[in-house]
Symmetry: C2
Subunit: 260 residues, 2 copies
């Protein structure tokens, strides 16, 4: 199984602190050493870094930990291969374009006998069940809404339906973003926290590192962090219910509900 | 205007030497300081690094110069903005998926009054004429060949036609790769060299740096480098004719001909 990390904020924020703890699980404090990846939205653009080396020893991960890229939507993934070889094309997150926006997707879990009919509009490049699920999701999304990008309520209803449909094939913890909202779905395990004023000092569980967020934020900042396993041991993380979809906008929960 | 750099090899090769000279033009020895980008194929996967900072001062470019990523197909670009703002989404290369392969594209030039009808299968995220041309090219390619990826001769004929069509709107120097072949088209300026046994010692034009390629290669290696302006002052670069398409496979010219 893999682990997921997402961040959604109301102001561009760097993810150095959270990523440092998360990357430690990629080969040091945990077994997720079959590659990793991270995608940052900057405006409509995306920076995607993927590597099939363990996050712990990857020079690219080292860069991310030192270089504070500011973003309002981030999705990261460390991989423990279950389906698909350890190759670059099988590293999450995956990116596709739809309606003139980039869509970024990462998945934790395992889908069994999942072989949807793909019509060619979005096809997997690698051999993972995850990328196939992403392509199927986008194909269904474009079929449903045609040429026009839907609004957030319509998109959220669609996500509830499609997540329930795909989750019937196995474990489907996922993160998806179009740079405006961060959609998260939990089959088995996902936690989140909204950091806001008054900001605490947080200490990582996986490394000796603390940050006093009040020194690096303004009182109006809001930062939601979503992760498979809580990253800090002195903050209160909320665990998702199985089947739950949460949509984050501007650093806070916009919608929380059960998959239809 | 911008500058292009491409590499196609018969064995995975690092581009550190050529990129070092090329990146120097991104703000130091030349004026191309409105962002840059580089894409490396590794198997079917792609590593894409883009930045709207000048290549000379970008920490990501620094990583590329130090970290020898091995690839058989590389496309790089430094930008001097003519159309579209200096934002991340306007940095080349651009990547899309078609037929379950990634396609990477970069363009140097300026297209005037180019507003093709796009049917939604590939849409630009940014505001450059270049990304619009890339989306139009892919749309036409998928229309032409349907659900089946064509062979190289058919694809090359298509490229000759579409390049001639788009070049009617202005300057269309381009590089395109699907990880198997590197397609290059010259409207105004492009040079190439095929490095092979016996390998020379090459010296950069833009920086004090030399490499004795014979020390880092085997006698069967072949490396084609294609670039807007020659990178070295002691090698013999071949200049393209206007309207010329060259396709590189396994480090050598596979097809050279005029756009139909």
């Amino acid at each position: 199984m893999c682990q997921l990390l997402g961040m959604n904020c109301n102001t561009p924020t760097d993810i150095v602190f959270s990523f440092t703890g998360f990357a430690t699980r990629g080969g040091l404090t945990d077994e997720h050493k079959d590659g990793w990846g991270i995608a940052f939205f900057e405006g409509n653009g995306v920076r995607l870094f993927v590597d099939h080396q363990p996050a712990m020893s990857s020079p690219v991960a080292e860069l991310i930990k030192r270089y504070p890229i500011q973003s309002e939507n981030v999705i990261a993934h460390i991989r423990k291969a279950t389906q698909g070889e350890v190759t670059l094309e099988n590293c999450h997150p995956f990116v596709r374009e739809c309606w003139g926006k980039y869509w970024v997707f990462a998945h934790n879990g395992d889908l069994k006998n999942f072989a949807p009919q793909l019509n060619g509009s979005f096809l997997p490049v690698g051999s993972t069940d995850s990328e196939t699920a992403f392509c199927y999701l986008l194909q269904r999304m474009r079929e449903r809404f045609g040429e026009q990008s839907p609004d957030l309520p319509a998109l959220s209803r669609f996500m509830q339906e499609i997540c329930a449909e795909i989750a019937a094939y196995g474990t489907f913890n996922l993160m998806l973003s179009n740079g405006e909202a961060l959609f998260t779905h939990c089959s088995t395990k996902l936690h989140y926290i909204v950091r806001q004023y008054p900001f605490p000092t947080a200490s990582l569980s996986d490394e000796q590192m603390s940050v006093d967020f009040s020194e690096v934020t303004t009182p109006r900042d809001k930062v939601a962090v979503i992760v498979t396993e809580p990253l800090t041991h002195n903050e209160c993380w909320t665990q998702y219910q199985p089947g739950e979809l949460k949509v984050f906008v501007d650093g806070d929960v916009w919608l929380a509900g059960e998959a239809a």
